[in-house]
């Protein structure tokens, strides 16, 4: 063992060095978040649960019932029944059900959606989906459009 090592050992140099780093970090801004009361700012591309949307201008159903999202879903969580669009040409989804219990939030269903300029199915910013029964996760079209009520907590 060299003299330098001995000196370092005797004066606990590595300990002082570590403590100095800890002290430095003590004065850095906090990064923890008091979660239910404080919420993180989500990125615009955040992938929450998939939801449906209507045309923002005319409030008409955007989904044309092409079944592409149902086919590409790796978890088979989307089931659609297609019907003729009432009072117009083309098709629409008579019923559109997403089983959130199976969904893995991969976002593959959004890729092939043919409606332009905005897709009928989209990854929303909704999270926090826990519920008391499994039935609650099977979501019908109306709930898919309206979304889930987000619980708010007072700080």
């Amino acid at each position: 063992m060299s003299v330098g090592t001995l000196v370092r050992r005797f004066f606990l140099v590595e300990m002082a060095q570590g403590m100095w780093i800890t002290l430095k970090n003590h004065f850095r801004p906090h990064i923890t978040m008091e979660y239910p009361r404080e919420r993180p700012a989500l990125a615009p591309r955040f992938r929450g649960v998939p939801r449906l949307r209507r045309d923002p201008g005319t409030a008409e159903e955007l989904c044309v019932g092409c079944l592409l999202c149902e086919q590409i879903c790796p978890d088979d969580c989307i089931s659609i029944v297609v019907d003729k669009r009432p009072g117009g040409k083309g098709k629409m989804a008579k019923s559109f059900i997403i089983d959130y219990e199976r969904c893995c939030f991969c976002g593959l269903c959004v890729d092939p959606c043919p409606t332009t300029p905005i897709t009928a199915i989209y990854m929303s910013h909704d999270y926090e989906l826990s519920d008391y029964s499994r039935q609650e996760f099977i979501t019908q079209r109306e709930a898919l459009v309206d979304g889930h009520p987000l619980k708010r907590y007072a700080k």
Partner: protein, 365 residues
Amino acid sequence: MFHTEILEVNMGPQHPATHGVLRVILGLDGETVVQCKPVIGYLHRGVEKLAEHKLYVMIPPLCDRLDYVGSASQNLGYIQAVEKLCGIQVPERGQYIRVILAELNRISSHLVWLGTHGLDIGAMTVFFYTFREREMILDLFEAFCGARLTTNMFRIGGTLEDFPPGWIEGTRRFVDLLPSRIKEYEGLLSTNRIWLERTKGVGVISAEDATNWGLTGPPLRGSGVNYDVRKAMPYAAYDRFEFEVPLGTHGDTYDRYLIRMEEMRQSARIIRQALDGLPGGDFRGKVPKKIKPPIAEIYHVIEGPRGEQGFYIKSDGTEKPYRMRFKSPSFVNLQALPALSNGALVADIVAIIGTLDIVLGDADR
């Protein structure tokens, strides 16, 4: 004089230091380990079989969940294997974006390793600091693709999307910040007496043994074998960048620690180069509507954060793979656990499992 026998002790499957659900049956002679038998399979989900029933485009989410700490590498490897199988060309910008994200993922994976490895050995503080920096990477991932852990950010033919506005600046800020933070971790660990005692000379494996066991990644390079898939068989755009492959000399836990620290710096260097030379143009190439590869077999390897990730696909000409096989570095590295832990103390087993940096989701598949 006294009657002695080897005591058999179960470590795991619910031991916090086994990084998942790994059971190690230890034969103990006092404190010394004389037998070591890893038992895996607690996290087996049959991903390879599941993949046979899915279209080629549906499989990336499954790959994400193999090695959930390094999901971008898994994604990249699988998608490149499919592209190789179908002969799909990826534009230069797409390749660069892939490299940037894969390297960011390598840094985040190494940060998780450093934090948990330190936690196992007893250096608690590092854990909080590494996870703070990892959070920055996860935020970048969230901004790019919307998810933080199981990212599913690459698509066949390119990437999901281009960089969002402000992303490149954010990444630059992070990459510039990282070396100073790595210095801090090293300040806490590299000369720390306890850390040295716990890592130096623990889990030693010679270069020859390491190659014979088939180790890959940092455990192999820690023994001084210069093998990195990024250099040996460059994929994506790795041949365009300058970086060094750090090598160890002793093949012990401390060397593997130094290598991973240096790898983080080199990853930051690659990201900086890629951001500087980011070409314009498309990020996603022309891809047929239906991915229907010819009847062929393909094996593609990439350098994941843990080592050589292999992807074997056998196609029978339909839209689904006929056979799928993932070669995971965690599995091969774990095989060497008995060789590494021979004659070690019980407390060293924790350090050795940590230094192999296994993810059981990857080992069990």
